[in-house]
Structure formats: C-alpha cells, structure tokens
C-alpha cells in the first residue's frame, strides 16, 4: 500500500466504492427476488441445503448423538418421579384401552350393519431429523427424505402420536418440515367434541394459538384438537393435541407430539381425493337434459 502513489490509491478507492455499491444493489435484487417469488427462492434454499447437509452428516451425527446421551443422562436425575408418572399413566391407559376395544367392537358391528366402505388407510414413511432451522426465529427441521423417496410439498409430518408440521420445500434427498410452532404455520383444525372449526397458528412458543373459533363458549380446556382436513392439505382427524386456556384468556393447544426428543418422524402419504365434478352420473341412468339442475354442487369432503 505504502508504495502506491496517491493517484493509484484514489483510483482503487473509487473502484472499490463502485463494487461496494454494486454488491448492495445485487443484495437488494436478491431480496426482491425472495420477496416476489418466495416459493422459488425457498426452493433454491432447500436445494442448496440439500447439496450441503448430507455431506456434513458424518460430522454432525456424532455430535447430535452425544448431546442426546447427555440429555438422557440428565433425565436419570429424576428417574423416580418419571417412574411414578409412568405408572399412573399406564393405569389410565389400561382403562382407555378397555374402552377402545369395546368401541372398536361396537364400531365394527355398526359398520357391518351399514355396509360402509372406509377410505384406504394412510401410509407412512419414516425419516430422521438431520438439522434444525439454524435460527431461533424459525421452527423447522431438515429430514433425510426427499424427492427420491416420493415426498411431496404439504404432506403431514407426525411423531408416533401427534402432528408435528408439514413438508415445505423438497430437495432431492432432504426436505424441510415446518413445525406447528413456527409463526408461518396455520392449520385448519376441528375441536372435539363440539366440532367447531378453528385455525391453529404458531407463534414461536410451545403452545400454538387457536384462532377464529366460532363460539368460544363451547370450547373447554382439555378438548381434543384434530386436523379438519379443510383445504385439502392434511388428511382429516390427525391428532394435534389438547386445548388449554392460558392466563391471557386465549385458547392454545398443548401439542401431543413430543418436540423435545425428536429423532424420527413419520411423513403421511396423502393425496387429496379427486373432486366430484359430474354429480348426475353418480346415481342411476342419464337424466334428460331439462331435468338436470345446472348448478348442483356436491362438496367432496374427506375422511
């Protein structure tokens, strides 16, 4: 630097300024691209992660494993309470199991009487959590299933019991699961047993909020929350959790899925049923044209 003449330095400085300005402009353009064509930009992000993360897995896996072992070790500290808790829960489970078996038998009898045909059972594909979102502002995880495993955007992710979130962004060998706790997550739900519809909105806390409840008087803390299947993204009747009433007089949901020890998740294969477009052909022979009402609508509800 010291050897250069003043003119050289000035020249270099102005070039530098131009380059700096160009960089800022370029960043602004990238932001515009992200803002305007968000799905494509996020797809780009996923494909970059898809290239990088599987290569880091060999280094990441042992560290993740060690942190889990440490967690397990810490939980030995309260092993006695846990044991008591499990005993109590087991007792309750037995009662429920009895009830479930009885209901199952009754349901089978009724179905038999009605000759009902049930929809095909949902099938699962299981994946391992690779990474989290890398930021405290986003609640999501990357799993080791992608396009090659037939994963599609929008499919539901569950742990053994409850709904965790949905697939959002699919790469070749990995895909991102956005959790119910993320502030971008909105899921249409049904509150059982009052059958009210609501929207479950994440807000970066462990208890997502129930919004747009039709009649809050009919909702009790402890009510079961399941997916409603509206919008055709999720299958209906996946368990989400239980309603709780927090001190700010809002209904929130205690999630059944256990986020704290998440290693594996199940992705629900689901393709929404085809809408019925041709109502008059369903039953009986073709009617004469003048008898057919032009605006007949049959809503294709699922579940």
């Amino acid at each position: 630097m010291a050897k250069k003449t003043g003119q050289d330095i000035n020249f270099g400085r102005s070039i530098r300024q131009v380059l700096f300005g160009l960089t800022l402009f370029f960043l602004f353009l990238i932001f515009l691209f992200w803002r305007i064509d968000n799905p494509r930009a996020e797809q780009l992000r996923v494909s970059i992660l898809d290239k990088v993360v599987p290569n880091m897995e060999w280094a990441m896996a042992p560290i993740t494993r060690i942190s889990q072992i440490v967690d397990d070790f810490q939980s030995y500290g309260r092993i006695y309470e846990q044991n008591q808790e499990l005993r109590r829960e087991l007792q309750q489970m037995k009662a429920w199991r009895e009830a479930a078996i009885q209901l199952e038998q009754e349901k089978a009898r009724l179905l038999d009487l009605n000759n009902v045909k049930l929809p095909a059972k949902l099938s699962f594909i299981s994946g391992v959590v690779l990474t989290d979102s890398g930021s405290p502002f986003r609640q999501s995880a990357l799993i080791n299933l992608g396009e090659n495993d037939g994963i599609k955007d929008g499919w539901a992710a569950m742990d053994g019991l409850g709904l965790l979130g949905r697939i959002s962004g699919v790469g070749k060998n990995s895909s991102r699961v956005v959790f119910l706790t993320d502030s971008n997550s909105n899921v249409p739900v049904t509150i059982k047993p009052s059958n009210q519809k609501a929207i479950l909105t994440g807000d970066n806390s462990l208890l997502p909020v129930l919004e747009f409840i039709e009649n809050t008087d009919l909702v009790q803390p402890g009510d079961r929350i399941v997916t409603s299947g509206d919008g055709g993204v999720f299958p209906a009747d996946l368990l989400i959790g239980q309603a709780v009433l927090t001190s700010d007089k809002r209904f929130r949901v205690r999630l059944s899925a256990d986020y704290s020890r998440l290693e594996f998740m199940r992705i629900v294969r689901h393709s929404p049923g085809l809408p019925i477009t041709d109502p008059d052909r369903l039953i009986g022979p073709d009617l004469p044209e003048e008898l057919v009402e032009p605006q007949t609508q049959i809503e294709g509800t699922e579940g």
């Binding site: 960089t23 932001f31 992200w34 959590v129 989290d132 970066n204």
Partner: protein, 179 residues
C-alpha cells in the same frame, strides 16, 4: 517480504471462512427443537468488527458479504437484508477506524454495541417496510445482550491467544492464527 504478508492474509481469510462454516455447522445441529430458545450471540459480527478495527485488510467487504450471505441461506433468513445491513455498518466502521486508534476499550465496546443496535434496527425496519414477518423483539434483545457480552471475550481471544493487535507490530505467526 510483501509476498509473505499477502500469503498470510490469504491464509487468515481461509481460516475466517472455515470459522464461519463452523458457526453454521454448530447452529444446524438439532440440539433441541423446542421453540422459545434463547439466541446465540453473533460471534461473527464481533470477529469482523475486531478485525476491521485492527487489520482491515483481512476482512474486505466482499468476504463479509459472502460469509453473511451464507448465514442468510443456512439460517432461513430473508435473502440479503441482514447481509446488506452488516455490510453498511461495517463500512461505516471501516471509514472511521482511525477514531479507534488511540481510544480505550470501553469506547470501542460501546461503539460496537451501538453499531450492532443500528444494524438490528435497520434490518427490522426494512423487513417491516417490505411487509415481511419480523422476528420477535425480545429474542433480538437477547441476541444483542449476548453479542455485547461476547465482544470482550472474543476480543481477548483474538488479541492474547491469536495475537492480532492494533498497530502493525512486526510479523505474525501463522500457527497463532490456527483455531
């Protein structure tokens, strides 16, 4: 003489990039998937500021841009905004770096903290203006507090363990830079 110095800087930049990847790597490890966790300090910001005040040639703006853009990608942030904010404030720091020459550490600490606040505010304002959902304020506050606390620690490590100091004091040990 000139040649070896150039090589050294090149090596330091590589180490800096590796360090950035280490940070990304650490953040991506799924330690806990429970929401409401406290954020980590922005160590990279401390490192970049320390180098800009002491050895600005090690951290040219394009390197800062590249590192922070990688952060944007891997931390699921909006593309480019945080990078641009960091670039602007570090450029302001760089232009005024003579002011830090004679001054003591408390002055530097306060200034850097203010600069970080400025970057956060700029980021938040710009996101709010373009109607993008902004991160909750209390998390940002924690990030700010942790970063401010981390600054002297990072500075200590860089000055006394890696031996990067303010004035041009002779040669540098390559081994001293290795992390």
């Amino acid at each position: 003489m000139n040649d070896t110095k150039l090589n050294l800087n090149w090596l330091r930049q590589v180490v800096l990039v590796l360090f950035a990847f280490l940070i990304i790597f650490y953040q991506l490890i799924p330690f806990s998937l429970i929401p409401g966790e406290l954020p980590a300090p922005d160590i990279m910001f401390c490192v970049v500021c320390i180098f800009i005040i002491r050895r600005p040639e090690i951290v040219p703006f394009w390197l800062i841009g590249l590192i922070y853009f990688a952060f944007d990608i891997f931390q699921s942030k909006p593309f480019g905004v945080w990078t641009a904010c960091i670039l602007i404030v570090t450029e302001v720091l760089r232009a005024n770096r003579d002011a830090f020459r004679e001054n003591l550490f408390p002055f530097e600490w306060i200034t850097i903290s203010m600069v970080f606040v400025l970057a956060l505010c700029a980021n938040q304002t710009f996101l709010a203006m373009s109607i993008v959902e902004t991160p909750p304020l209390f998390i940002l506050l924690w990030e700010l507090i942790f970063t401010v606390i981390a600054y002297p620690i990072v500075l200590f490590i860089i000055t006394y363990i890696l031996r990067v100091r303010k004035p041009a004091l002779g040669e540098f040990d390559i081994k001293g830079q290795k992390i």
